[in-house]
C-alpha cells in the first residue's frame, strides 16, 4: 500500500486518521493562500515590469476594506485550525477509564516497559489491538520522549514527573518508536518496536513469558523491607494513614485542601513526604529521594494500587 516515497506513515491508532485529517485541512488552506499569493506576485511581476527606465508606479497608499478583510478572514480560518486541533489534543490528554496501563521508563539510552502482569521488555512494547492503552512514563536521568509515528502521538518523559499518554492501536503490525527529545550521545539509538497483536496472541504472549516478577509482589516486598509497614498499618491505627482504598480516592490535607491520590501524588509523597501532609497526621515520614530507583517507586505504586480494593478503615481514630 505504501509507495516508494510515501508522504505519511502507516495509520495504526485511533489518533492517526484524526491527525492526518487535520494535516489535510491545514495543508489545503495553506496551499490555497500559498498559491494565491505566489500567483499574484508572479503575475504582478511580469505584468507591471518596468518598460521605461524612468517610469514610476501608480501611488496607491492603502485600502481600509482590504486591510480589514485580510485581518479578519485569516483570523477566522486560524480559529478553525485552533479549534479542531484543540479537540484532538484534549482527547489525547484525557485517557478513558478502561485503559491497559503499562509503565515505561526511559534512561540513557534505552526504554524499559513493564506490562501489568509484571512482564518486562527492553526497547520493545507489545500491545493488544483495539484496547485503550495508557503509558505511565518516568525518566531515570534526562528528558526523553516516547514517539510512535504510526500512532501519531508522542509525550516527553521528564525526570521528576509522571507523564502519561494513551492510544488505541487499530492495526496489528510492528511499528517504530523513537526517542524524540534529544538526550545525549546515543539519542538516535534509543528506539525500538511496538508490536500490535490480536488480543488472543497478546494473551498467549503474556502467558508464554511469565514469571519475571509481578510488580505488586515486588512492591509488597519493598513495603516491608523499607519499613513502610511499621507506620502505614492497614487498620489505620499507626502513626501514618492506612493505604487501603487510597488509590483514586480524595485525600483531605492538613492545609484544608483535598487532592486525588493518583500516581503523581503517591510518587511525591514517597519522595517529598512533607509536600502534602494528610489531615490529622504529623510530618514524620523521612524522604526516600535518591534511595529508590524509578522501577522500585513504580513497584510500590503498583502495590498501593492493589490495596485499592481493600477495605479502608473508618475515618477518624
Amino acid at each position: 500500500m505504501q509507495s516508494q516515497l510515501p508522504l505519511y506513515p502507516e495509520q495504526a491508532s485511533n489518533f492517526a486518521p484524526q491527525v492526518d485529517n487535520l494535516m489535510l485541512f491545514i495543508t489545503l488552506i495553506c496551499l490555497f493562500f500559498g498559491v494565491a499569493i505566489t500567483a499574484a506576485i508572479v503575475i504582478f511581476f511580469f505584468k507591471f515590469h518596468r518598460k521605461q527606465p524612468n517610469a514610476v508606479g501608480v501611488p496607491i497608499l492603502g485600502d481600509m476594506r482590504l486591510e480589514t478583510a485580510w485581518l479578519v478572514i485569516p483570523l477566522l480560518l486560524a480559529m478553525a485550525m485552533f479549534g479542531w486541533g484543540a479537540v484532538v489534543y484534549v482527547d489525547y490528554r484525557h485517557a478513558p477509564q478502561d485503559t491497559l496501563d503499562i509503565y515505561v521508563i526511559g534512561k540513557q539510552w534505552m526504554w524499559k516497559a513493564q506490562q501489568p502482569s509484571g512482564l518486562r521488555e527492553i526497547n520493545e512494547l507489545h500491545v493488544p489491538v483495539g484496547r485503550n492503552v495508557r503509558l505511565i512514563m518516568a525518566s531515570e536521568d534526562v528528558i526523553h520522549d516516547f514517539f510512535v509515528p504510526a500512532f501519531r502521538v508522542k509525550m516527553d518523559v521528564v525526570p521528576g514527573h509522571y507523564n502519561t499518554m494513551w492510544f488505541r492501536p487499530t492495526k496489528p503490525g510492528r511499528y517504530h518508536f523513537f526517542c524524540s527529545q534529544y538526550c545525549g550521545t546515543n539519542h538516535a539509538l534509543m528506539g525500538g518496536w511496538v508490536t500490535v497483536m490480536e488480543p488472543s496472541e497478546y494473551a498467549a504472549w503474556l502467558s508464554g513469558s511469565s514469571g519475571q516478577g509481578d510488580p505488586v509482589v515486588a512492591g509488597e516486598k519493598l513495603f516491608v523491607e523499607r519499613a513502610c509497614s511499621t507506620c502505614h498499618s492497614p487498620d489505620g491505627t499507626g502513626r501514618a494513614p492506612s493505604l487501603n482504598g487510597l488509590y483514586g480516592s480524595q485525600v483531605s490535607l492538613a492545609d484544608g485542601t483535598t487532592v486525588v491520590a493518583d500516581d503523581a501524588y503517591i510518587r511525591e509523597s514517597i519522595l517529598q513526604p512533607n509536600a502534602k501532609i494528610v489531615a490529622r497526621y504529623q510530618p514524620l515520614m523521612p524522604t526516600y529521594q535518591g534511595q529508590l530507583t524509578e522501577e522500585q517507586i513504580l513497584a510500590l505504586i503498583a502495590y498501593i494500587k492493589s490495596l485499592q480494593s481493600q477495605p479502608a478503615p473508618a475515618s477518624g481514630k
Binding site: I41, N54, P59, I60, L75, G85, G160, A188
Partner: protein, 558 residues
C-alpha cells in the same frame, strides 16, 4: 517644491568619506562611527556564519547514509549543537540589526550617529568577548547539549564544555541589550526635523520593534543560562529534580526569550523587504501604518506564545490551549505584512534588480515558513510533528529562508551606499536564484521527513528515510554555492565594481541623499524632511517624474 534635499555631489566628485577619513588599524578598533562599527560587525558575523556553515556542511554529508560514516555520534551531536549556537547567537541575532541597522538607522533618520557611539563600540567588544568564550568551548571539548541547553542534560549529564559556552552567551547578551537600547534612544531623540514617526522608513519601525524584544527578552535568557551554569558548577538545584529543581522551569524561561528571539531575526529582514519592494516597484508601500503596526504587534504578542514549544512536556491542557490560541493570533500580523507587500507590486514599475529578487525570494520562503508554523501551532498536529524534521524545516524556512535572504538582499541593496561600488548585476541575480533553488531543495524534503516521523538530532536513521536525506544534502551543496558566490563578488566589487553614485536605484530614503560612501558626519547639512515615505511623485530630485531632466539610472536592467 521649496525644500527638496540638497543636491548631492556627482558620482565621481572626490569627497572625504567615512572609509578614507582616517587610516590604520587603531582608527578602526577605536572608532565610534556607527558605519565603521557596522563593518566591524559585518566581518565578525561573517566569520561565525562561515564556522556555522562548515558545521552544517559536515552534518549534511554525514546524513547521506542511514548509518552515517563520517563522524561518531559524539561528534555529530557537537556539530549540530555548535552549528545552532554559532548561527543563532553569533550570526542571526546580530546580523541585520548590528550590521545594517547600525549602518543605516542614523542615516535613515538624518542623524550624525547613534545616541551612544561609545556604547555602540563597547557592544562590539562585548560580542567579541562572548564569541571568544564560545569558540574556546568549541575548541576544548566542544558542546553537545543542543542549542536549547535543556536541563538536566546540560546542567548535569553532558561531558562537554558547557560552562564556557553559557558564560559566552551570557556575556554576548549584553551586546544585544546595549544595541537595542542604543537604537530605541536614537529613534526617539535624534530624528531630523520633519522626520515624524509616520515618515520613518519601515526598516526603522521594524528595528524599533526588534530593539524592544532585545531589551526586554535578552536578560531572561542570560540569567537562565547562568542558572544552568551555576547548577552545573556548584550543584545548586534550580532545574535538576534530584536537587529539588524542575527541568520544565528551564524550558519556560528559555523559550520566554528564545521564541521572541525568532522575531529578533525575522523582523529586521521584514524591514529590509519593506524598503526594497517600494524602491524597485517605484511606488509608496501599500498600507504603511499596517506594516509598521504589525511589527509592534509581533513584538508584543511574540512574548506571549513561548509555551507552544512545550505542548508535549505534560504542561496543563489549559496552558496548551492558551498558548496555541495566542500562537495563531501572532500569525495574523505576519500575514498582514505579506498581503501588503504583494499589493504594493500592483501597478508598480517593477524592475528585476538583485535586491528585488531577494525580496521576492524572501516572501516565498517566509510564506512557507510562516504557513508551516500554523501546523505546529495546532495542538492536535503538534503531538505528531513536534521534535521531528518538520520543525527543523519550518524554522530554517523562517531563519534562513527569511532572515538570511533578507540580510543578503539588504547587503546588496545598500552595498553601493556602504562601499560606493556596484556589484556585477547578472552574477548577483544568478546567485540569488541559486540560493532560492538550493534552499528549497535542501529544506522542503525535511517537511516530508518530519511527517514520516524522523526525529531531529539523529546521527543515524532507519533506511526508509534515506532518499529524502540525499535530496536534502544535494540541495545543500547548491545552497553553499549560493552563499559563496556573493562572498566572492562582493569582495571583488569593493575594488573593481562600478562607482555607484549617491542614489543608483534610485530610492527615496534619506540615506540616499548623501554621497556614497557617506562622510563621517553622514550629512553635510542636517536634512529636513518634507516628503512622505516612499513618495516618488513629489521628488523631482530623483530625476524620475515626468518633465524632470532624466539621467538614466546608473543601474538599469540589462
Amino acid at each position: 517644491m521649496s525644500k527638496t534635499p540638497p543636491p548631492s555631489p556627482g558620482p565621481n566628485m572626490p569627497h572625504e568619506d567615512y572609509l578614507n577619513a582616517t587610516y590604520g588599524l587603531k582608527s578602526w578598533l577605536l572608532t565610534t562611527d556607527h558605519k565603521r562599527i557596522a563593518l566591524l560587525y559585518l566581518g565578525s558575523v561573517t566569520v561565525f556564519f562561515f564556522i556555522g556553515g562548515i558545521f552544517a556542511t559536515l552534518i549534511r554529508i554525514h546524513l547521506l547514509t542511514p548509518t552515517g560514516y563520517l563522524v561518531t555520534p559524539e561528534t555529530y551531536n557537537k556539530l549540530f549543537t555548535m552549528h545552532g549556537v554559532a548561527m543563532i547567537f553569533f550570526f542571526l541575532i546580530p546580523s541585520i540589526p548590528a550590521v545594517l541597522g547600525n549602518f543605516l538607522i542614523p542615516l535613515m533618520i538624518g542623524a550624525k550617529d547613534l545616541a551612544f557611539p561609545k556604547i555602540n563600540l563597547l557592544s562590539w567588544y562585548i560580542y567579541l568577548i562572548g564569541g571568544s568564550f564560545v569558540l574556546y568551548s568549541f575548541s576544548t571539548g566542544g558542546l553537545d547539549t543542543g542549542w536549547t541547553f535543556y536541563t538536566p542534560l546540560s546542567s548535569v549529564y553532558s561531558n562537554s564544555a558547557v560552562t564556557p559556552a553559557v558564560i559566552g552567551i551570557f556575556i554576548n547578551g549584553f551586546s544585544s541589550i546595549l544595541t537595542g537600547l542604543n537604537f530605541i534612544v536614537t529613534i526617539h531623540t535624534m530624528r531630523a526635523p520633519g522626520m515624524t514617526w509616520f515618515r520613518l522608513p519601515l526598516f526603522v519601525w521594524s528595528h524599533y520593534a526588534t530593539s524592544l524584544v532585545m531589551v526586554l527578552g535578552t536578560p531572561v535568557v542570560a540569567i537562565t543560562l547562568l542558572l544552568a551554569g551555576l547548577e552545573r558548577m556548584f550543584h545548586l538545584g534550580f532545574f535538576n529534580p534530584a536537587l529539588g529543581g524542575d527541568p520544565i522551569l528551564f524550558q519556560h524561561l528559555f523559550w520566554f526569550y528564545s521564541h521572541p528571539a525568532v522575531y529578533i531575526m525575522v523582523l529586521p529582514a521584514m524591514g529590509v523587504v519593506s524598503e526594497v519592494i517600494p524602491t524597485f516597484a517605484r511606488k509608496p508601500i501599500f498600507g504603511y501604518s499596517f506594516i509598521a503596526g504589525s511589527s509592534i504587534a509581533i513584538a508584543v504578542i511574540g512574548f506571549l506564545v513561548w509555551a507552544h514549544h512545550m505542548f508535549v512536556t505534560g504542561e496543563s491542557t489549559y496552558a496548551a490551549l492558551t498558548f496555541s490560541f495566542l500562537s495563531y493570533v501572532v500569525a495574523i500580523p505576519s500575514a498582514v505584512k505579506v498581503f501588503n507587500w504583494t499589493s504594493t507590486l500592483y501597478k508598480g514599475s517593477i524592475s528585476w534588480d538583485t535586491p528585488m529578487v531577494y525580496a521576492l525570494g524572501f516572501i516565498g520562503l517566509f510564506l512557507i515558513g510562516g504557513l508551516t508554523g500554523l501546523f505546529l501551532a495546532c495542538l492536535g498536529l503538534d503531538i505528531h510533528i513536534h521534535d521531528t524534521y518538520f520543525v527543523v524545516a519550518h524554522f530554517h524556512y523562517i531563519m534562513v529562508g527569511g532572515a538570511v535572504m533578507g540580510y543578503v538582499g539588504g547587503l546588496h541593496f545598500w552595498w553601493p551606499k556602504i562601499t560606493g561600488r556596484l556589484y556585477p548585476e547578472s552574477l548577483a541575480r544568478t546567485a540569488a536564484i541559486t540560493l532560492f533553488v538550493g534552499f528549497n531543495l535542501t529544506f522542503f524534503p525535511q517537511f516530508i521527513l518530519g511527517y514520516m516521523g524522523m526525529p531531529r538530532r539523529y546521527h543515524t536513521y532507519p533506511p526508509e528515510f534515506q532518499v529524502l536525506n540525499v535530496l536534502s544534502t544535494a540541495g545543500a551543496s547548491i545552497l553553499a554555492l549560493g552563499y559563496l558566490l556573493p562572498m566572492l563578488y562582493l569582495m571583488w566589487s569593493m575594488r573593481y565594481g562600478k562607482v555607484a553614485g549617491p542614489n543608483p536605484w534610485p530610492a527615496t530614503g534619506l540615506e540616499w541623499t548623501t554621497p556614497s560612501p557617506p562622510p563621517t558626519e553622514n550629512f553635510d547639512v542636517t536634512p529636513e524632511v518634507t516628503w512622505e515615505p516612499y513618495d516618488y511623485k513629489n521628488r523631482p530630485d530623483l530625476g524620475l517624474t515626468a518633465g524632470a531632466p532624466s539621467p538614466a539610472p546608473a543601474h538599469g536592467d540589462d
